[in-house]
């Protein structure tokens, strides 16, 4: 087939930066008809609340929304695993016509009796508002009857993108955080917010904090438990990680309990070290600072020699990075630099103009910056920039593979821990096995062929 010229949609131009003066726009509703990589607010809520392992998660709506989110993430739990079950009211035509309130009521009651959860989250999907089910009223009724929190999540997909879903999830969480019966501050304590414990990453991070003398009150929502979330007000500081998916919760905690928040990223040596030092600085505690230094020295001393062979191979290779939230892109750019690689394309689904401005400053001039892009654009730039590696979510994988480019999943489906110092080593290994595989020699782009 002849080479297809891929032109940017006229209306998309403002969401792409190809170097030169920075004048990007972002945070727009996806264009009708574009194959966006974004999803819906239900998806955002589900991502945030999903890892809470001692609650049941009931999706009120037709079956698909529940089927597609059954056990999709490797958010680990050290105890109960109710979150790995998928519950749906599986609305039928009758329910759409007459309303699904009775069905919902019976469904939740039975599930609570059977699974004995500490709470129930009830997600509304698109058609629920339209058919007029009063989900709030049902939740109240069940809560009264069963004596556990039954929390409605206002997550109808059409109401917005993932971001609005994050907000809805934070509202739901805050309802719990306000129910502590003993709101006393724990000394030298933090909450870890916005980490989902993929591949057990929270355990890695928690271990670092504890080794430097910091108490972790609760983690939201990775390895999350209802009772721990109730206690969120007891911490002195909220550490909000990466994507910003729970920054709304942090803001609410700040208003309610006066707990300040600080952002952190656990990806890469620089950002991980900074995350630990920041906490010591916040408490202005010399023991803690010394503790952080000790942890970092120990870990880095182990890590650096292990990274060396990978770095040698990867030096000068080119990467494209495209993630959900913008914050993670920064860490990835730095991490790839640690491995000697250059980022030539960077972007995210939900970043703000501010994020992209900072990103364009962090990256080398000429780096293409993309907001809410689509497969055509991605492919165009991947090819133009001749990248060796693409880092993104599972939806980008086939794009990369189809044009014969190595790919790493840095999204919710990863099964290897990438956070922390040990995560940097796993990251190096994965990048290495993607970039250095001999199979690319057969891809038409390298073999000189056309396909």
């Amino acid at each position: 087939m002849a080479e297809e010229k891929i032109n940017l949609l006229e209306k998309r131009k403002a969401q792409v930066h190809e170097g030169g003066e920075f004048a990007m726009e972002a945070e727009k509703q996806s264009l009708a008809g574009s194959v966006s990589q974004r999803s819906c607010s239900f998806c955002g809520s589900r991502v945030v609340l999903y890892p809470i392992a001692d609650a049941i998660h009931v999706v009120h709506g037709p079956i698909g929304c529940a089927s597609y989110t059954w056990d999709i993430r490797g958010a680990l739990s050290s105890g109960p695993e109710l979150h790995r079950l998928s519950f749906s009211t599986d609305m039928q035509e009758k329910d759409v016509i007459y309303g699904g309130e009775n069905k919902l009521y019976n469904a939740i009651c039975e599930l609570i009796d059977e699974y004995k959860p500490s709470a129930a989250f009830i997600y509304s999907t698109c058609i629920i508002g339209v058919i007029g089910d009063d989900v709030n009223a049902i939740c109240k009724k069940v809560q009264k009857k069963k004596g556990i929190p039954v929390i409605p999540v206002d997550s109808e997909g059409f109401k917005g993108s993932k971001k609005e879903g994050y907000k809805a999830a934070c509202d739901a969480l805050f309802k719990l955080a306000g129910t502590d019966d003993h709101p006393v501050k724990v000394p030298k304590s933090i909450n870890i917010l916005g980490d989902f414990n993929l591949a057990g990453e929270i355990w890695i991070i928690k271990d670092y904090y504890e080794r430097m003398g910091v108490n972790v009150v609760c983690s939201v929502s990775g390895d999350g438990r209802i009772d721990d979330i109730r206690k969120a007000g007891r911490a002195h500081l909220n550490i909000v990680q990466c994507s910003g998916s729970v920054s709304n919760l942090a803001k609410m905690l700040e208003t309610e309990y006066g707990t300040p928040m600080s952002r952190a990223s656990y990806f890469g040596i620089e950002d991980m070290s900074k995350a630990l030092y920041d906490v010591a600085d916040f408490f202005d505690d010399d023991d803690m600072r010394a503790g952080a230094q000790r942890v970092i020295q120990e870990e880095v001393a182990k890590l650096v020699p292990q990274l060396a062979p990978y770095r040698k191979d990867l030096q000068g290779k080119k990467a494209a990075v495209y993630t959900g939230g913008a914050f993670k892109v920064f860490s990835l750019v730095r991490s790839l630099r640690t491995l000697g690689m250059d980022v030539v394309i960077a972007g995210s689904q939900t970043g703000s103009v501010e994020d992209y401005k900072l990103l364009s400053e962090l990256c080398d001039p000429g780096t293409v910056i993309l907001d809410d892009t689509n497969p055509l654009e991605l492919a165009k730039y991947v090819k133009e920039k001749d990248v060796d590696l693409f880092i993104g979510g599972v939806k980008e994988r086939p794009i990369a593979y189809k044009i014969g480019v190595g790919f790493c999943d840095h999204n919710h489906e990863r099964k290897e821990a990438l956070a922390g110092f040990i995560g940097m080593l796993n990251f190096a290994k994965e990048v290495h096995s993607s970039v250095m595989s001999p199979v690319w020699q057969f891809a038409p782009r390298r073999a000189g062929g056309q396909g």
């Binding site: 574009s34 966006s36 819906c40 519950f87 009775n102 009724k141 059409f158 189809k402």
Partner: protein, 487 residues
């Protein structure tokens, strides 16, 4: 909170008017009275669904038309989830556009979103065909997509450039992905096929099968020396090579002009058993053009494949080509060599209804004993079709529609079968119950071979038989202490 049965489901609020289990079952807001202890208590909720939603099936069908871009009319999340789900199985790009509903669309209807969406998709993809399926939201607010499309086409000045715009109504509250697939195929045929003098070729509606199955069907038809149209055929778009350049729409699929010709086919074969006439594309051709229709179940195993070959022989007037007869011969030989390993071993089979019918027929003919046949679908015909296709199956065998994986799990603990046969979503229960799962059908999210798995015909039966036999031999070998090196 009273419902159409006139009673209330909230007894604490209104004790006198409380409904009982029977009322609940009648009006659908509670589970049916417990009639299947095998699968545990009945629940109102669906737990770990054994089905997907209708637009997924429709997108798959649209992907099998050359130059077609699937397009979901409704909110964006559905398209993104469905893409992700299909990509995890096929490991190929699966672009699905969406009209991206916002709050205004819900209030005022999705007309503007649809026409904007179509305009943008045409501009950026230049597709030959756009296949629109509706999400639950668009269906619920009552959008008339057929009318919108007409308006869109008549509003366009330079009509020559417009792609074919097809649309299927796919409300997920009325059926599963298997239904969505059939609805879409029927809609495609309805909107494209035209009348004309008969031509000498066979149309085939293959059902939801793997790319490998589609390729093999093509090979069989070619070997019969009969020209044919398989519709839809997503074997190339969903199992293609690495490209030099990015293609907006992957090559391959059934061309529109061939589907248009289906109204003139000398015969059509539909590989299906449980679908209703209302869903069937073949029945539609019969109604509209009095086309000769042959319906056979998915040809899995020797007997089902024999039926398929017999139909081909009948239509073409030629015997099954020697190459395929020889494959059948070798297959029988393998059955003979392996029969002791399979005989009496108990299996649970699950998946789409038509697939379960075919797999059960196959299992039964090699001496396996199906102890439960289960599907999330609800055609009302599963039992009838299985008993017809697999006479060895004990009529007392539980054959269940509308089941979910939580129920299959309880049944697995109760029945303690030797094997599970079905898609990869059975892995969770397979691991819990310690019963090995042989992955067949769709989706397969945890192995690489999904798109290349062959199930149909003599060759597919050979692969299935080898896989199952090998697994049973492995279990036998691992299960004893001696470590026999010959089994």
């Amino acid at each position: 909170m009273s419902c159409d049965c006139g009673k209330t489901c909230a007894p604490d609020a209104d004790a006198a008017n409380a409904c009982d289990a029977e009322d609940k079952a009648k009006c659908g807001c509670g589970p049916a009275p417990k009639d299947r202890p095998l699968t545990g208590e009945n629940f109102t909720a669906t737990r770990n669904a054994c089905k997907l939603c209708a637009p997924l099936g429709a997108c798959l069908a649209f992907r099998g038309i050359e130059g077609c871009l699937p397009f979901l009319h409704g909110s964006q999340g559905c398209a993104t989830y469905i893409r992700r789900y299909m990509i995890s199985h096929f490991r190929e790009p699966m672009d699905i556009a969406s009209s991206n509903f916002g709050e205004e669309s819900v209030v005022f209807g999705g007309r503007k979103n649809l026409s904007d969406g179509l305009t943008h998709v045409i501009e950026s993809y230049r597709p030959e065909v756009i296949g629109i399926a509706t999400t639950c939201l668009a269906e619920t607010i009552g959008d008339d997509v057929g009318m919108y499309v007409k308006e869109f086409i008549s509003a366009d000045k330079k009509k020559v450039d417009l792609p074919h715009i097809l649309h299927a109504s796919t409300p997920s509250y009325s059926g599963s992905h298997a239904d969505g697939y059939q609805w879409a195929v029927r809609a495609i045929v309805d909107q494209l096929a035209v009348d004309g003098p008969n031509e000498k070729f066979i149309g085939v509606f293959p059902g939801m099968i793997s790319p490998a199955d589609l390729r093999y069907l093509r090979e069989i038809m070619d070997d019969f020396g009969m020209s044919h149209t398989i519709a839809p055929d997503y074997s190339d778009p969903l199992d293609g090579p690495v490209w030099g350049d990015y293609h907006k729409i992957p090559a391959g699929g059934t061309p529109v002009r061939e589907i248009a010709k289906l109204g003139r086919a000398s015969a059509v074969i539909e590989l299906a058993s449980t679908i209703s006439d209302k869903q069937s594309a073949a029945s539609l051709l019969d109604e509209k053009f009095s086309t000769a229709v042959f319906r056979v179940g998915l040809p899995i195993g020797i007997r089902q494949s024999d039926k398929f070959h017999k139909v081909l022989e009948q239509i073409t007037g030629k015997p099954t080509p020697a190459k395929h007869a020889a494959e059948r011969g070798r297959l029988v030989d393998a059955y003979v060599d392996g029969h002791k390993y399979t005989f009496g071993k108990e299996v649970i089979i699950f998946g789409e209804e038509d697939f379960v019918v075919g797999m059960t027929a196959f299992c039964a003919e090699i001496g396996l004993k199906p102890v439960l046949c289960a599907s999330g679908g609800s055609s009302g015909k599963l039992r009838e079709c299985i008993l017809e296709a697999a006479p060895e199956v004990d009529p007392e065998t539980p054959i269940l529609e509308s089941v979910d994986f939580a129920e299959i799990e309880v049944a697995t603990f109760n029945l303690k079968p030797d094997l599970l046969l079905g898609n990869s979503k059975g892995f969770t229960l397979s691991r819990k119950a310690g019963v090995p799962l042989i992955r067949v059908g769709f989706p397969i999210h945890d192995r690489i071979s999904g798109p290349r798995s062959l199930h149909l015909g003599y060759r597919g039966a050979q692969r299935l038989f080898d896989t199952i036999c090998d697994k049973l031999m492995e279990l036998q070998q691992d299960g004893n202490d001696i470590g026999y090196t010959y089994i």
